[in-house]
Homo-oligomer: 331 residues x 2
DNA sequence: CTGAAAGCGCTTACAG
DNA sequence: CTGAAAGCGCTTACAG
């Protein structure tokens, strides 16, 4: 039994009686080869069991169709819905997604950026906010397409698709004030983006005549357990809030569970809001009022940007997809 | 301002006064170049800002250091902890992970396998169980390293690293029987793996003298909301169970929330178990008795297999990492 | 320990 | 619509 090399373009060309160039054209742009030729090539591909070598294609064509997505984590990430949509949408257009984990550690971020560049990805998608100006400059100098998502910086590295965390916070403040709440308490994960939302909330709240909200900071990544602890920490506040504004749906869920275990009815005695509008938010008891980020929309805009770049067309630098408050039972 | 091509190996070689081959050796295996030469090369890399082209390297070297991980989803996946560990561990050894989503759809699975093969990945990691024999054969014929994780088939496609779902179910049956429960009810997501666990549970339970457990099937991916519905469905049972064995921690969590809202104390009136030992399981109120799968261990074994393959060493076909029951408050 | 040279499997002007 | 040829940027026997 001889070990067979896997067939190459040349083998397909031979079987179809055409040149390798024609097979390549058929694979990448079928409409430019004659229908009859195309049919022979299709048959030859079938007969040989040819699987194109995208690595060679990437090297020769200068386009890898590889996209790097850098996320802090996936075990418990608020980005997962968006990332799932992203992978789906990008795959539907022939791209593959390289997922890299950065934690909240700038060094790992740099390492993964380097790896992505070395793989000659067509684009790097960044979730969250890259604070370090040096990293931003390095990336800019590199000339790759860089897409920042979720956050929407004033001055994007390259292109940003997302929403203003500040505005999201402001909207939530107006919404809760409109609902008659008067003493909000903020549970804020230690990340730049949550910070921004909290700032937006507080600024709006005060400008609308409210007293500055109290706040508690919790570690990232935020999770269910922190919600429970955050509820207990309320006991230490000089004045009890009437609504707790949580930095994520997980925190909100944990807080509700703990509140109810303590006999505190939500929202009657204490209202709660989350962030992210995870599927669970609509399923929880009570259902959780949250802020929805349209991951599918973000994914589609990202694809549009990528396609425009590939076609050499100009692209907007900031694409605001906004957020939407989903009013449910918890607040 | 002229646009500069990014520097190549040749440019580094020129700057260091050596041949490209030597720079390549320094990059891939520093110990085989003379220390002084290595130092000059390092300086040249620094000076030129060289970023190696891994695409070219993969083509020339026949090793991509790209690993494809195929998962059903990530928005709400019980594999996320394992995948996170996998990405971490593989990245630490210079690999990148291409994440592809397959849903529960065999056609998409085939498409993604084809893409992975076209990218000439070093290995394909499959989570869950590939039932279709034709797909299994195609993959076997291809000669790539294929690693099935979580499930542990009797006859792996290539290598399997995981645990026996059947045994996990059996262990849980013995555990609950030992705790004195007598009327288990199974909530079973419609996936081959959950099925297997349920079968293992039922077989063991009956062989230990119990009556065949009642069961409810729910859609995959399983989520919190299904847990709530599953609790309500209990009302339709002719006899009430004393413990509900849930196919995932999410289902368990939802079921507990709904039970408590209905005034049913857990575990006093109804005990509950989950599966997966997500972080949330330990944080929930009551904490959830679950079955732990050691994702870190799986990831390390996968890396070991990959390294052995790269070195041309033989590898075991089935690596059983087992599972562990984590007894907590809920059962 | 190092270099010259062939080759990995494609894509893409260029020419017809 | 199709082909011949150069080239993408590396790695790796082979030789010294």
């Amino acid at each position: 039994m001889t070990v067979q090399r896997s067939p190459r373009l040349e083998d397909v060309a031979g079987a179809a009686g055409v040149s390798p160039a024609t097979v390549s054209r058929f694979l990448n742009n079928p409409s430019i080869v004659a229908p009859a030729t195309g049919e022979r090539i299709r048959a030859a591909i079938e007969a040989t069991g040819y699987v194109p070598n995208l690595t060679a294609g990437a090297l020769a064509g200068g386009r890898s169709r590889l996209i790097a997505a850098l996320v802090p984590d996936i075990a418990q990430s608020i980005f997962n819905d968006t990332m799932e949509a992203m992978i789906d949408v990008l795959a539907s257009d022939g791209n593959s997604v390289m997922l890299a984990l950065t934690g909240s550690d700038n060094h790992r971020l740099l390492t993964e950026i380097h790896t992505a560049l070395a793989r000659r990805v067509d684009a790097i998608i960044l979730t969250g906010i890259v604070g370090d100006p040096e990293t931003r400059d390095r990336l800019r100098a590199q000339g790759v397409t860089v897409i920042e998502t979720w956050g929407l910086p004033d001055d994007p590295i390259d292109v940003a698709v997302g929403f203003s965390h500040r505005s999201a916070g402001q909207e939530l403040a107006r919404f809760l004030r409109g609902r008659g709440y008067r003493r909000p308490h903020l549970v804020v994960p230690c990340s730049v983006r949550s910070e921004r939302r909290a700032e937006g909330f507080a600024a709006q709240w005060v400008s609308d005549g409210g007293a500055p909200p109290s706040r508690l900071e919790v570690n990232v990544p935020s999770h269910f357990g922190q919600g429970r602890l955050s509820f207990r920490a309320l006991a230490d506040l000089p004045e009890q809030p009437d609504v707790v504004v949580c930095g994520s749906d997980w925190i909100a869920q944990g807080l509700i569970v703990e509140a109810q275990a303590a006999g505190v009815r939500v929202p009657d005695r204490l209202a709660v809001t989350g962030f992210g509008n995870l599927r669970m938010a609509g399923d929880m008891r009570p259902t959780i009022t949250s802020v929805d980020v349209d991951g599918g929309r973000i994914a589609r805009e990202v694809l549009r940007v990528l396609q425009a770049r590939a076609a050499g067309e100009p692209v907007e630098r900031r694409i605001d997809v906004g957020t939407r408050i989903i009013a449910r039972e918890s607040a």
